[in-house]
Amino acid sequence: MPLPPATGTGRYYAIAAKSIRLIRHGCTNRPFFHISVTHRRRLNSQPVIEQLGSYDPMPNMNNEKLVALNLDRIKHWLGKGAHVSPPVAELLGLSGFFPIHPRSYMTAWRNRRTERENQAKEKAEGSS
């Protein structure tokens, strides 16, 4: 099946609330996300209003995660009052377009804490 165009095929209602969110494409065990704008009350499986970018959460051979953002259109939809879902807000925060999302900081220090704990555990096992 051919992909729908980036301009989207979903029906557009001017007054309804919009949201910019990740929409899972890809297949089993291989996630790939489109960053799209759609109506808030619409399911992710339904057609979107417009695609604004893409996000590949699996690191490639150089250990890089690729994110594409159509900043021009994102600004347009933000100006129209679109809501931004937390994962997209995190990505935009990392890119320097938004302030860094608090959840990013939370994930970072939680990761650091588990690493510290693991190290301490290894040390304890090594000494005993």
């Binding site: 690191p59 890089e64 995660k65 994110v67 890119s95 220090w109």
Partner: protein, 376 residues
């Protein structure tokens, strides 16, 4: 029986020796080429100045048979026979001007610019993000209508630094999101493997290398400049200028040789083949770029006289009185250049002497012919 064995043994040793010497020869040749890139002064202002562009285009010596030749039949499903038409003079003129226009498009020279500088600007540092992820995030702004070189491409590293990407990453991401036809994400093996490149050079597929490099790299890419530099030097060493002539790469080749003070071989070839006017053009090119000639102004003055004349594709066969005047001036100018500025004085002097004798005979023949036709 033993005699035959001895013979076989001896042939083996001979064969072995042959291959050994060949191997040495190739490796010696490989070692002798050291690529040089435009990393000092910026060559772009000189390359793009109108005077230099005109001289380079003229030095290309476009031969339409070569410019419009069929190179591949990849886009042509059926090879068609040529069409012959009867045309009036006006129609012929429009056809010719169309041909000149399309030739100009085909012969557009790849630009010669300074090598790119590494990008190093840190946008922000956030140590609180250490541990967020172990891989780098690459963000590309895919806004419509932005040129590849102005596209916003940045990376967030595992240590929380947000910085602009370097050129290799930019090139890769531009190719991922906005693919260019013919360009590959990874360098083709021809360019990454010196053995393969060397084999192409040995087979003198210069135009192929240069065209491929043009597609694969930007002109300010250090790899592009290295590759072209090696190819130009190989062409120069083997005197195979004719393979590059009438292609878009001859201008940059001439510019490269002039910029690196090594036009002597090209000059010698021009004098030997008897295209004396282009030799003067080459002189004035050196004057425009390096400004180190004794009689530089004389040669630049001659350029305006040479440019309106027809392009010489081979040695002149018949000369008019105006041609004789112009060519004598050119020869005098060249003589001074050879005595004062040339590094191959004796060889170029000999070649010029040879041309002089040939030209003297040509003058006699042409004048005799004119007399015989009753025009003198």
């Amino acid at each position: 029986m033993s005699l035959i064995k001895l013979c076989q043994n001896s042939t083996k040793t001979i064969l072995f020796k042959c291959t050994e010497s060949q191997g040495l020869y190739i490796s010696a040749r490989k070692l002798s080429i050291v690529p040089s890139i435009y990393d000092g002064e910026n060559p772009a202002p000189k390359f793009f100045s109108s005077g230099v562009q005109i001289i380079l285009k003229r030095l290309t010596r476009p031969n339409f048979e070569k410019v419009f030749r069929k190179r591949t039949n990849s886009n042509i499903s059926v090879l068609r026979t040529p069409v012959y038409k009867f045309l009036t003079d006006e129609e012929l003129k429009t056809e010719q001007s169309n041909a000149y226009k399309s030739a100009e498009r085909l012969l557009q020279m790849p630009p010669v610019v300074k090598v790119q500088e590494p990008v190093d600007d840190v946008l922000s540092k956030d140590p609180a993000l250490v541990g967020y992820d172990s891989s780098t995030y690459l963000f590309t702004d895919i806004t419509h209508g932005v040129a590849n070189e102005h596209r916003l491409i940045i990376q967030r590293e595992p240590d929380g630094t947000l910085r602009s990407c370097d050129h290799d990453v930019r090139k890769k991401l531009n190719q991922i999101y906005f693919p260019m036809q013919g360009r590959k994400l990874r360098d083709p093996l021809v360019f990454s493997d010196p053995e393969k490149l060397n084999s192409l050079l040995e087979r003198q597929k210069y135009e192929y290398i240069l065209d491929r490099a043009c597609v694969q790299y930007e002109p300010d890419d250090p790899q592009y400049q290295k590759l072209t530099s090696i190819t130009y030097q190989h062409v120069d060493m083997n005197n195979q200028y004719d393979l590059i002539r009438s292609t878009r790469h001859f201008g940059p080749l001439a510019f490269y040789l002039t910029w690196h003070n090594s036009i002597d071989n090209l000059m010698l070839e021009l004098v030997q083949t008897g295209i004396i006017r282009e030799a003067v053009l080459l002189m004035s090119l050196r004057q425009a770029i390096k400004e180190d000639l004794v009689n530089g102004e004389e040669s630049t003055a001659l350029v305006s006289e040479i440019l309106p004349t027809r392009i010489q594709l081979s040695k002149p066969e018949f000369v008019s009185e105006e041609d004789i005047q112009l060519d004598t001036k050119c020869m005098e100018c060249l003589d001074k250049y050879i005595n004062n500025n040339s590094a191959m004085k004796s060889q170029q002097g000999l070649a010029l002497q040879g041309f002089r004798e040939y030209y003297q005979q040509l003058i006699e023949i042409s004048r005799g012919l004119q007399k015989a036709h009753g025009n003198a």
